[in-house]
């Protein structure tokens, strides 16, 4: 086992022990902070209702993520090719992005209802922005000498995009995609908390109303596991695609 992995596991184990110990030693009531063991027990006991909720949130996040990632990359390519359009649209895009996403959630709920669609739209919106801004950054940062060289060999704008800009931007796209994983989960949950009939966000909201805080923690645990898995999966994909990094 490598030293980094060993120390990392050691740190995690110490953290959990400390948590469990403090809660037991000082008799902290579970509505303030339940021990990790209690959260695990509750999660297992309530698995019949928590797992479908986790699945619903995961589906919304994944669908929105896929749509947002594709749209974000396409829009960035379009604006990288069309400079006048970019100068016109970029200030608007940056202004729209300056407002925290959570503020748009009420609009999405009014427009698209309390079903999964409003969550997918919100996730796609956030992921799209994150991926778009990172991709555009990468596409425009290319060495001008490289572009001049390719063009002198007769490459078209699209050729420069395919052979130079896109490969050069891959690391930036990958960062955008990786950051977006966790965001997609957060946004799906936030939108669910405002209005929904399913999902972990809804579970949390319901459990808060019923003052069932162990259930809140159980939902948080599952949400964290899901976003950790998503983050890890995208990280693995990234190492395969951007192998030269």
């Amino acid at each position: 086992m490598s030293g980094a992995l060993r120390d990392g596991l050691l740190g995690a184990a110490l953290f959990l022990l400390l948590w469990e110990g403090v809660v037991r030693l000082f008799g902290v009531p579970p509505w303030i902070l339940p021990p990790p063991s209690g959260i695990l027990v509750t999660t297992w006991a309530a698995r019949a209702s928590l797992l479908p909720a986790m699945l619903a949130t995961g589906q919304e996040a994944l669908a929105g993520y896929a749509i947002g990632a594709v749209l974000g990359i396409l829009l960035a390519m379009l604006l990288a090719l069309a400079a006048p359009l970019r100068r016109l649209l970029l200030p608007v895009i940056i202004a729209v992005n300056a407002v925290p996403v959570a503020a748009y959630a009420p609009l999405a709920l009014l427009w698209f209802g309390t079903g999964p669609l409003s969550k997918i739209v919100m996730v796609a919106f956030v992921v799209g922005f994150t991926v778009f801004l990172n991709t555009l950054d990468g596409l425009l940062r290319v060495d001008p000498a490289g572009i001049a060289l390719l063009r002198s060999f007769g490459a078209s704008r699209l050729g420069v995009m395919r052979r130079l800009r896109l490969p050069a931007a891959l690391p930036d796209i990958a960062i955008g995609l990786r950051v977006s994983t966790v965001r997609s989960m957060i946004v799906a949950i936030v939108t669910e908390m405002l209005g929904s009939q399913s999902g972990l966000g809804w579970t949390i909201y319901e459990a808060v109303l019923q003052i069932d805080f162990l259930r809140v923690w159980a939902a948080i645990l599952l949400a964290s596991l899901l976003s950790l898995a998503f983050f890890g999966a995208v990280g693995v994909l990234e190492r395969r695609v951007v192998f030269w990094r």
Binding site: G11, W31, V92, A102, L110, V182, V190
Partner: protein, 249 residues
């Protein structure tokens, strides 16, 4: 503010206002989706004191959490740079902490702190400290070892190295993290207000949603944008004051 920055700031705002009004008039967008800008501005003007106090409340919450997050992040970055073992043990936990959808904690944080400024600030803090830690660490590690060796040869101790070389060298990266996490801090404050707060931009958003008032939602969105701009301006001013040498590089 110089005579040149004002038009540069105002031009995009004007463009957006024109696009907004133009789109509503030109495409006949239903006010259910996008009400005319004048109507939204009119709603804000009609309730000016309410919007002003919501702006100030949310700005205070976000700034408090943001400042705490910046301090803890910088301290964490310094500690990790000096203690590799601590870093290997704790940094992975920090990474995992960021995959926890913090918003889900909103209810619990409000339970801990009550419906106070501290509850919203705590959520803003949670979203801020990690990017600052990572960038502080990266900035300190990027310091040229020859510069360290030079200062050491003049007899500098580690404290002097930190204050005279490592931290100043890391400042540009720290500010990059601050600029990225300012909107996150604001989002934390706004969502924190959804758990029973009666004041602030987030509380206004929620009230507008429950009353299905699209104009009021857009007015609250503009208020959120104003808070975001104010936070961004604070960071930019601090950066100009502290990283004064940046333009020379």
């Amino acid at each position: 503010m110089s005579w040149r920055t004002l038009p540069r700031l105002a031009a995009p705002l004007l463009l957006i206002a024109l696009l907004w009004e133009g789109a509503v008039l030109g495409f006949g967008i239903s006010p259910f989706y996008l009400p005319p800008l004048r109507q939204v501005l009119g709603a804000i003007a009609a309730l000016w004191p309410a919007y002003q106090s919501a702006f100030l409340v949310t700005l205070a919450e976000a700034t408090a959490g943001f400042a705490m997050g910046a301090l803890v992040g910088i301290a964490g970055g310094i500690a990790f740079a000096h203690l590799p073992r601590l870093r290997r043990m704790v940094l992975p936990l920090f990474v995992v902490s960021q995959t926890v959808p913090v918003i889900a904690f909103g209810a619990i944080v409000v339970l801990w702190f009550g419906n106070t400024l501290a509850a919203k600030a705590a959520i803003a803090f949670y979203l801020t400290f990690f990017p600052v830690t990572v960038n502080t660490l990266a900035g300190i590690e990027a310091v040229d070892p020859r510069q360290v060796a030079l200062l050491r040869s003049f007899g500098a101790g580690s404290r002097e190295l930190l204050w005279k070389l490592r931290l100043p060298a890391a400042l540009p990266r720290i500010f990059t993290a601050l600029r990225l996490s300012a909107p996150l801090a604001l989002a934390g404050a706004i969502v924190g207000e959804w758990f029973g707060a009666t004041q602030g931009v987030g509380a206004m958003l929620l009230a507008a949603l429950f009353n299905e008032q699209v104009v009021a939602i857009w007015a609250a969105i503009l208020a959120a944008a104003a808070v975001g701009s104010a936070l961004f301006a604070l960071v930019a001013l601090a950066e100009r004051a502290l990283v004064f040498w940046r333009e020379e590089l």
